[in-house]
């Protein structure tokens, strides 16, 4: 491209005010990174089970981890009561009881993957990201079994967890489908 044509192209780009064009013209300022290098950060689990890690756990295994690392805040067997800041993990009133009903795993969550994802990214509150993936599966299994959402001997892993049917799943309405 001649100098003249380059200048004309640059002017057109600038005049159009198109920021993406600027980025492309300059090759962009983002530094390429490979997915393997993002792996430690790549923790978001999707409801169909996408991105669930290897590992597994049972309610019995989860009960042991729970007693050691969770009960101090969430109470014995997930019953809460230690402080209003730390919710109970078991039970839940019917949502027909009022718009201020406390939302729980049993009465509200649409997908069991949310339980796994939240424990893994944020719990224990004082030491996030300290649990192994199998410990997270075990805790998830324990909490789901306390809520009678799985059997006492069911193992949770990348295959079984997304198949857990949550009772409130079909109770949601999308007020603004055009926003998606």
């Amino acid at each position: 491209m001649s100098m003249r044509k380059t200048i004309v192209a640059l002017l057109v780009t600038l005049m159009s005010g198109a920021v993406p064009a600027f980025a492309q013209q300059q090759g962009g300022l983002g530094k390429p990174i490979s997915e393997p290098d993002i792996k430690q950060w790549d923790i978001a689990i999707l409801p169909d089970g996408t991105n669930l890690p290897p590992g597994s756990g049972t309610p019995a295994e989860g009960a042991k981890v729970y007693a050691e690392k969770c009960a101090a805040c969430h109470g014995d067997a997930g019953k809460g009561g230690v402080s209003p800041a730390y919710p109970a993990l078991v039970g839940g009133a019917p949502l027909t009881g009022g718009i201020d009903t406390v939302k729980t795993i049993a009465n509200y969550y649409a997908y069991a993957t949310t339980v796994f994802d939240y424990i893994r990214r944020g719990m224990p509150y004082n030491m996030p990201r300290s649990l192994s993936d199998s410990e997270v599966y075990a805790l998830t299994a324990y909490i789901l079994s306390l809520n009678k959402l799985i059997g006492d001997n069911d193992t949770m892993d990348a295959k079984t967890l997304p198949q857990v049917k949550m009772p409130n799943r079909d109770n949601f309405i999308l007020p603004y489908p055009d926003r998606i």
Partner: protein
């Protein structure tokens, strides 16, 4: 003919609505028909004291500091805290709307909610990664983002739980700060998210992003790609300063008009995906239970709303006379078109003056001149946006969204979310102001 200057055609002080609502142009720099009106509006003609020089006019003043703070006389203009001792739980700081003016919330007073403390992020070490369904995953730093042509816009950010105490069946006797302190308005500067997504090359079949913060819970929310390409920013400045730590330093997602929680702070990662993640926050706190037990999901937009900041609870009226009823109005879908004000509990309404320029998805201040005659009054404001949305009256709102089934005993409670009905302040014959439902 008086020798005192008065512009021709100045609006009169005639009421335009009941109980002393005056023509909105009366006090807005256009003068008003004072002649013969002084007594009617209660202007005190008693003589003022003779003037004397004050001590601060007679001595050299204080040092000029590198970073200035408000006058010590402003020490009570502070955010109220839900967790003042820093206990091991979430923290909320609410904006004192009744003690500030204009439309821009000072950075030191912008509301802030933190679910696991405020991370102390070194901006030279912080990274933002965009990956997932993209042609080339990319990493950005504060330094690299700063090199893009930055854009600046006004936008309010509102917690979806703002005003939640008003789901109470009985009006709580608390200030506008306690009721509505979880919304603030700033000028934000950053890089359009669409620029960064285009650079990474988004798979056309991707419909969602998962945006994640660098805080200790790695708070994340699912955001439609549609919104990202509409008006989302990765914001790095707030009112000209780098972001406050409690507002997401060194970078945050800004989704104008969408629930505050979705405007992910300490932004470290955006993963482009084909389905929403149903994260903890979108699964629980930020979807609403409706009367009858059905629930909303992916509600996103903070609806059209207004509230009167002056006068309001805690700011009693000292004497009858002329006042400006003033407040803020905003809508998550567009610009404010009109604000109506009532002084008689909604029996009659007058159109308030709007102070421009009127930005979309941002605070607009409204002002309505009012002559208080010393008798009981109920002050209300009602906002209309340019998309035809109208702030609902309370009976309409309660029919649609319900009320708390249990008594609400603290303004820190969140019985439900997305409250956008009208706030009413009653004035008694002593000038005391109460919160009422009208």
């Amino acid at each position: 003919m008086s020798k005192w200057r008065r512009r021709r055609g100045a609006p009169s002080l005639d009421d335009v609505a009941g109980n002393g609502i005056i023509n909105r142009r009366a006090l807005l720099g256009q003068g008003f028909a004072l002649a013969g009106a002084a007594s009617a509006i209660g202007i005190n003609s008693a003589g003022a004291e003779p003037l004397a020089d004050a001590p601060w006019s007679l001595a050299f003043g204080g040092i000029t500091p590198p970073v200035q703070s408000p006058s010590p006389f402003e020490k009570d203009v502070v955010r109220t805290l839900s967790n003042p001792k820093g206990e091991f739980r979430n923290s909320h700081a609410r904006t004192p709307h009744h003690l500030i003016g204009g439309t821009v919330t000072p950075n030191s007073l912008h509301f802030s909610i933190n679910h696991c403390g405020i991370p102390n992020i070194d901006p030279t070490q912080h990274k933002l990664v965009i990956h997932g369904m993209v042609k080339q995953p990319l990493e950005f730093t504060l330094e690299s983002l700063s090199r893009y042509p930055l854009v600046t816009r006004m936008a309010f950010v509102e917690c979806a739980g703002n005003s939640a105490p008003m789901f109470s069946k009985e009006p709580l006797q608390v200030s506008v700060q306690a009721l509505h302190g979880l919304v603030s308005n700033s000028e934000w500067t950053g890089v359009p998210l669409s620029t960064l997504l285009d650079e990474a090359g988004v798979d056309p079949s991707a419909k969602w992003l998962v945006a994640e913060g660098a805080d200790a819970q790695m708070l994340d929310r699912s955001v439609p790609v549609k919104k990202a390409y509409d008006d989302a920013l990765v914001a790095i400045y707030q009112n000209g300063e780098h972001l406050m730590p409690g507002n997401g330093y060194p970078m945050r997602l800004l989704l104008p008009g969408y629930q505050g929680n979705m405007n992910v702070k300490f932004l470290r990662r955006i993963k482009v995906v084909n389905q929403p993640a149903y994260t903890y926050f979108e699964t629980k706190n930020y979807s609403q239970i409706l009367p009858g037990g059905k629930t909303w999901r992916f509600h996103f937009v903070m609806e059209v709303k207004s509230f009167i900041t002056h006068p309001s609870f805690g700011l009693s009226l000292k004497e009858p006379g002329l006042y400006a009823i003033s407040g803020v109005a905003y809508s998550g879908t567009g610009r404010i078109a009109k604000v109506m004000v009532s002084a008689d509990g909604g029996k009659s309404w007058g159109e308030a003056a709007l102070q421009g320029p009127i930005h979309e998805k941002a605070f607009t201040r409204f002002v309505m001149p009012w002559r208080w005659d010393g008798q009981p009054a109920v002050l209300m404001s009602r906002a209309y946006d340019d998309g035809g949305n109208v702030q609902p009256l309370r009976p309409e709102f309660v029919t649609m969204r319900g009320e708390a089934s249990k008594p609400v005993t603290t303004p820190l409670a969140f019985p439900n979310q997305h409250y956008n009905s009208i706030t009413s302040w009653s004035v008694d014959n002593k000038g005391e102001i109460k919160h009422v439902y009208a």
